[in-house]
């Protein structure tokens, strides 16, 4: 039985399942993240936002979920790496001419690249905020708020551009990933799949816009 399960998780389909499940889990995190971020648009000098981030930083349940989240990200990345390596091995000699655009979307074929860009962005992003919020004294001691930290970071136009690019990568990654996860889980039905695809499309666009709006709004001074 145990070898059976090991076989299952090591099979191509098992790995895909992990990709799909972790992907959906990360998508659910994005929803929460975007929700808290958008609190800045109350334009109340970051009061609500700070309360939100305070809650996220100190609630023990959230701290546990945070660990799960990191495991999810790592699993998603590790599986992606293994699958990519295997998939590359499956075609040792490449085509001289391959007209991929005739049959699929570029972002569907570039999930590895988009994912790598996202990872780089994620590291920058974590360094900017997560490390600061968890491991430096200023915020934990209350000297500085997350909102203040954010305003400071997004004064730099290069960082804003980096964030916007990161968010574009995220948008395309989701554009494929959202509906792809459902397909992987075996949820494809002529009646419901068009709805899932439409939902995935709008989700990717809206979530990206929300994330991009924040650094831009702060930089431009639309929110004080």
């Amino acid at each position: 039985m145990s070898t059976n399960q090991a076989n299952f998780l090591q099979s191509s389909l098992g790995k895909k399942l992990i990709m799909g499940l972790t992907g959906l889990f990360l998508i659910s995190f994005l929803v929460v993240h975007a929700f808290i971020n958008s609190l800045i648009f109350f334009n109340d000098g970051g009061v609500l936002f700070n309360e939100g981030s305070e809650f996220m930083a100190h609630n023990p349940v959230i701290r546990v979920i945070e660990i799960v989240l990191f495991i999810g990200i790592i699993l998603h990345i590790v599986q992606a790496l293994i699958l990519t390596l295997q998939n590359n091995k499956a075609r040792p000699v490449k085509y001289a001419v391959n007209n991929g655009k005739a049959n699929s979307k570029w972002y569907s074929r570039s999930m590895g690249l988009l994912g790598t860009l996202l990872l780089i962005f994620l590291i920058i992003h974590l360094k900017h905020f997560w490390v600061v919020s968890r491991f430096t004294d200023e915020i934990t001691s209350g000297e500085e708020t997350m909102y203040g930290e954010m305003k400071e970071v997004f004064e730099n136009p290069l960082i804003v551009i980096t964030y916007v690019l990161g968010v574009i990568s995220l948008g395309y990654h989701l554009l494929h990933g959202f509906q792809s996860a459902f397909q992987t889980l075996g949820l494809n039905h002529p009646k419901y799949t068009p709805f899932i695809k439409a939902l995935g499309f709008w989700f990717s666009i809206i979530i990206s816009l929300v994330f991009a709006a924040m650094p831009i709004a702060l930089y431009m001074g639309w929110v004080k």
Partner: protein, 251 residues
Amino acid sequence: MSGNMNLTLRIWRQKSAKANGQLVTYPVKGISPDMSFLEMFDVLNEELINKGEEPIAFDHDCREGICGACSMFINGQPHGPKKGVTTCQLHMRSFKDGDTIVVEPWRAAAFPVIKDLTVDRAAFDRIIAKGGFISVNTGNAQDANNIPIPKTDADLSFNAAACIGCGACVATCKNSSAMLFVSAKISQLALLPQGQVERIARAKNMVAQMDEEGFGSCTNTGACEVECPKEISLENIARMNREYFMANIKE
């Protein structure tokens, strides 16, 4: 000369499995738009033979789009630019006078090149041998109308069973994944009452063999469905995933 199209072909030539190959350029003249793509190859091969050169080896047999033997990667697409057809049904009217056409064999570790454009697709047979069947010995059958099958199920099953095993799905997939092929067979049988008995073993064994053959995994780009000459649906892959997960949950 039966036509007036002049074309430049760039064709993969490879003497044997172990030899190195390369694209070789051949001009062809006087091609009729009514010719099939393979008939154009016949013309070229006849010319090569007459010149004392070696003709190009390629798989083909029925030339009516059903045996699944023909397998050419034409200008970056399996079976060429036209949707829903095999190479043998692709006609030269799909090209223009003066075109350059690049023809390569299917590329996948699991489909090694034998010679020129001919590849070995025995991996597909080995996958079927692991479970692409219903274990009913000759003589065991009950009356065919004893089990009514809803027309919609029978039709869906047929649509999956229409797969010709050409390997275009593998050829076009960026991961050389065989999931459309494998899922078509799993689906055909999963949709029928006769296929229920061996459902669990079938899904497990066929997927295991697929992995062992060295095909890549699916990243849902959907290219296979678009390039499949029989237009086998991606829904089959989702169904296979379900079958496989359920099989592993149950046993």
